[in-house]
């Protein structure tokens, strides 16, 4: 059972598809897609890979074609307006015609690219980098790195051939002040797609030898103002922000500031201006030093002069003080001695008066006392005389009484009455005085004395 089969040649199929597609897609369309690779050929034509990604995965892919005359026209517009050629990896809005080639198959012939859309995309990238840096707290990080008093040892990120580098070096090395700078070049691409990774690599190398350097500079210039959107690249900006040395930029352009310039420690519009800034830092160190020489000279002279004057003044003051003191003392001595004199005289006079008074008082008192005493004495003597008389009278009476009594007791009176006294050896006879036989005794009577012997 063989059916009658219709067999087509490949060309017939391809032609048919081509015809169908051309009929179906007669007009041009605006398509948004990421240009993954440009694939520029030496012929000047480009065959870019166009993709659409979702969550990082390619969900649609198609080849594109940009003929040389279209590409030239598009690039011209880009560079003029955006200062950027078409960049790989960026999302573009393209005017395309769907094309089918018998040999290469289906592709999108790119006729034009919307500039405004790309501009927006660049803006968006810049904005995104800024907000990412902001959220990580990196916007001011490099600006807070301490800046050396003298930015003398400079790590230069630039390209050997860069006009910007030679301008920079010339200004530094030909300064009129004999300031010494040390520079060491870390070569890198300065624009286009390769710039960000190559600058980042050099930043890493510098970090390794940071103790040899004071600052990092990124200088560029003279290469036209094309391909600077790399300085909006987030990774590069992050690396600059995290650098432990201050990063200074002088990438020479007149368009909007890139993010790298915004977050660098300092941005100068051109490499020349950047070199001037470094020289200025030297001035700021040098001027106070020079001034201090002048100040030291002037102030020392002033201090010495002042000291001399002070001394002179002190001497004069001492002299005048001494004179014044002496004069003052002399006057006060005079006054004191006068006062002393006067007071002494007064005192002596007073004392004399007092003594006179006391003398008078004493004499009066003495007189009074004497009078009183003499009266008392005469009173007493009268009294004594009276008393004495009384006593004498009394005693006279007593004596008379006694004498009468005594007279009565006189042995003669007894003898008168006939009694006699017998004595032996001058003593009256008693038990103790007994005369023996023939002893001579004496017998006394009133008017006789008889001697007798004992029988």
């Amino acid at each position: 059972m063989t059916e009658k089969r219709q067999v087509f040649s490949l060309r017939q199929v391809v032609s048919s598809i081509k015809k169908t597609i051309e009929e179906r897609y007669q007009q041009t369309y605006w398509v948004k897609a990421e240009m993954h690779k440009l694939n520029l050929y030496p012929s000047g034509h480009a065959f870019p890979e166009l993709v659409q990604k979702e969550n990082g995965k390619v969900i649609a892919q198609l080849s594109g074609t940009i003929w040389k005359h279209h590409l030239d026209k598009i690039n011209l517009k880009f560079v003029q307006v955006l200062k950027e050629p078409i960049k790989e990896g960026s999302t573009l809005l393209m005017e395309v015609k769907i094309n089918f080639s018998e040999i290469y198959g289906i592709s999108l012939a790119i006729l034009d690219i919307d500039l405004n859309y790309t501009l927006g995309e660049l803006q968006r990238e810049r904005q995104e980098t800024l907000s990412k840096l902001h959220s990580k707290g990196l916007l001011n990080k490099n600006q807070q790195v301490p800046f050396p008093l003298l930015p003398q040892r400079i790590a230069v990120i630039s390209a050997d051939s860069s006009k910007g580098l030679s301008d920079f070096m010339q200004v530094l090395n030909q300064n009129n002040f004999n300031y010494a700078f040390f520079t060491y070049l870390f070569p890198a691409y300065l624009q286009g797609d390769l710039a960000a990774p190559s600058i980042m690599k050099q930043l890493q190398r510098i970090e390794k030898v940071k103790h040899h350097f004071d600052v990092i500079v990124i200088v560029r210039g003279g290469g036209g103002e094309v391909g600077l959107s790399c300085y909006n690249n987030f990774e590069l900006c992050q690396a600059i922000a995290n650098s432990s040395l201050p990063v200074l930029t002088g990438i020479g352009h007149s368009t909007n500031l890139t993010v790298a310039e915004m977050i660098a420690y300092r941005n100068a519009i051109t490499p020349t201006e950047l070199a001037d800034y470094l020289i200025q830092a030297f001035h700021e160190f040098s001027v106070p030093v020079e001034r201090s020489i002048e100040k030291l000279k002037n102030l020392s002279t002033l201090i010495l002069e002042q000291a001399k004057q002070d001394f002179k003044q002190q001497v004069q003051l001492l002299k005048s003080n001494a004179t014044t003191n002496l004069k003052g003392n002399r006057t006060s001595w005079h006054m004191l001695s006068r006062q002393l004199n006067a007071k002494s005289i007064l005192l002596i006079e007073r004392q004399q008066h007092h003594v006179h008074y006391l003398q008078k008082q004493l004499i009066n008192q003495a007189k009074l006392h004497q009078q009183a005493q003499s009266k008392h004495i005469s009173d007493l003597s009268d009294y004594f005389i009276q008393q004495a008389r009384k006593i004498v009278a009394h005693y006279t009476e007593q004596i008379e009484l006694q004498s009468r009594h005594i007279q009565m007791l006189d042995p003669k009176n007894v003898l008168k009455r006939g009694f006699s006294i017998t004595r032996y050896q001058q003593k009256t006879i008693s038990q103790k005085n007994v005369p023996q036989k023939d002893d001579l005794i004496e017998i006394e009577t009133y008017d006789l004395k008889i001697r007798a012997s004992v029988q």
Binding site: L149, L150, A180, P288, V289, S292, L296, S300, I303
Partner: protein, 65 residues
Amino acid sequence: MKEEISYTAAYEELQRIVVDLEDGEISVDELSDKVKRASELIKICKKKLTSTEQDVNKILKDLEE
């Protein structure tokens, strides 16, 4: 003269001496010593401005490590 003093320290000390002089904090007795010290510091600062002692070989060696 202390050779090991850094230019930063020298600069700061110099400024301090000048300020002290301006404020009249330095007596005639100290003046001579202070001026002597200041001139040493000035020498250090001026030398730093006009000379560098960087060794490229050291940098290269450190880069290779």
